[in-house]
Symmetry: none
Subunit: 179 residues, 4 copies
């Protein structure tokens, strides 16, 4: 799974052959099929693993604060943190999450990270922390901002240091949410 994750992110899933994975993992092609039903199944298991880690990080984060504003800030920080510490896992989630052959509908039936955000934003609006905004749309903005910022950092399109990007993005998110 480690080797596959590495190759999937580097070259894309379609361009990664089972042979390449087996060679990278110092095992035989056939052996991969003892552990995974198919290439799609392997890709799915890796996703499940990555998603689990990501979700755990987010849930852990939410618990630490009670104030919606702090929660959102912490959440954004966590996502950036995850995207740097678990770069492969984060990229893989971005790559694979909309491929329906791999991420079947039953898998996506679980509550998604965006649902965590929505709940907090709703709380924040009720408590008067945030202005009245469509929470779903707000999540779209936040997720988009974070994701794109991460890509700009990763591809060195901006030369700003990581921490500055994080802090500024958090600031920008707050400008959007607060009155």
């Amino acid at each position: 799974m480690d080797t596959a994750l590495k190759l999937f992110v580097k070259n894309g899933i379609d361009a990664t052959s089972i042979r390449a994975i087996s060679e990278g993992a110092n095992t035989a092609e056939g052996n991969i099929y003892r552990h995974f039903e198919s290439k799609d199944d392997l890709a799915r298991e890796i996703f499940l693993d990555c998603a689990k880690q990501f979700r755990a990080a987010l849930e852990e984060t939410v618990k630490l604060d009670t104030d919606p504003e702090d929660q959102i800030k912490a959440l954004v920080r966590t996502i950036f943190g995850f995207s740097m510490n678990k770069q492969l896992e984060f990229c893989y989630i971005l790559i694979v999450h909309h491929r329906e052959e791999i991420i079947t509908k039953d898998i996506l039936s679980k509550p998604l990270p965006k649902d965590v955000f929505i709940e907090i934003i709703n709380n924040g609006i009720e408590n008067g922390n945030f202005r009245s905004v469509d929470p779903v749309l707000a999540v779209a903005w936040i997720v988009g901002m974070v994701q794109r910022s991460f890509i700009f950092v990763q591809r060195k399109i901006t030369s700003l240091p990581q921490e500055v990007v994080v802090e500024q993005t958090i600031d920008a998110v707050m400008r959007i949410l607060k009155n």
Copy 2:
């Protein structure tokens, strides 16, 4: 190229065979190779075409205003408009723009859409329209917000009507840029 665009967006480039394209276009496989050197070349030509349309729309927009604030607003409106009117083209750009076998470096050497934004934001900061913010980072935010909002609308994750999403997103962008 029309057929290929349709299939590339629907099933992905790798999962689309030359055969499928030729059948969809009511022509023979060999004939495609008369017009394009390879499948990658076909994908590239389609990208060039889509990118040209997109760029033209953006450039057209910028000319109409001189005030940076109005320009940014118009730009966001244009991107949303393009994403709805030219959905296939917009999706295709998103799908293909980071695939290096297809979008070779010489292609990306031309000024990109984001450069249009950067220039305007720089102007805006100089003129005191916008707060002092890293323009590259700001573009990352704006592009991310717009792109993600478009996806949320397209996949019906939000039920807000298109125009509301556009206006609210423009408002949010302004909150980020202005003091």
Copy 3:
């Protein structure tokens, strides 16, 4: 199809690889898939071809006589004739006709050779040519006798010349059918 037929009969369908067929036919493996969807499809097309020939021979035969007794005799003679002149085709029909992955139900919905027999035997019983016997069962007997006799001749289990086997089998069939 000729090569495949030869190899299927000689070694069995499962033990015949597409590669072996392509080599025997002096073509490339991939080319076989241009003409047939799958190995099963190839096997099916060959069956359809063989069955068509067999059916044509039987139908031709039935037309030549009107007397049920003569018709049955001619039919048996035809089957033996077909089994010798079109040995591969006949063997292939025997090999493949009960493999459901290949001979799908819709194929078998057409009237089968046994139906030709049943009709004639029914006629014969009505006209008083044959004793009162269950026609379906009678066909089972006749088909079984002919098929097994053919195998005994082919595998040289009996040393009787072909024509003697035919005539004696016809005689035996008549003993079963007539009073």
Copy 4:
């Protein structure tokens, strides 16, 4: 062996993997190789077992009568009986008996069921019970009739009850053998 027999008859030998057998038998793949040299060896042992049972039933039957006519009748009855009581074993014999990789020549050197028939028919001809007919050919007819009738019953091509089929087939056999 039980599991293998079941799967071999149901799906065919080639389409049955050692893995499927081991799973069906609640044991490990490797363990099968502790008891059988190879898959072919397993198939052979099963055949030997089935053939032994079949032969025993036939030999038992022959002993009970001395009159050739009664012996043939009893034999046919026994085959039908075996085919119903030991359906898997009977089908397996039909499936495998002509596969030379499995049923090697040394195995077939033992006297075969058909030899039992031949001897009795020869006796019957000498004693004047049967008309003068080639005994080998007669066996071909009888075996073919019985086998095909069994198939017609098993596949429900005829709706006649089993006992009627048996009695009528015996009657038909007698018509062939007697003057």
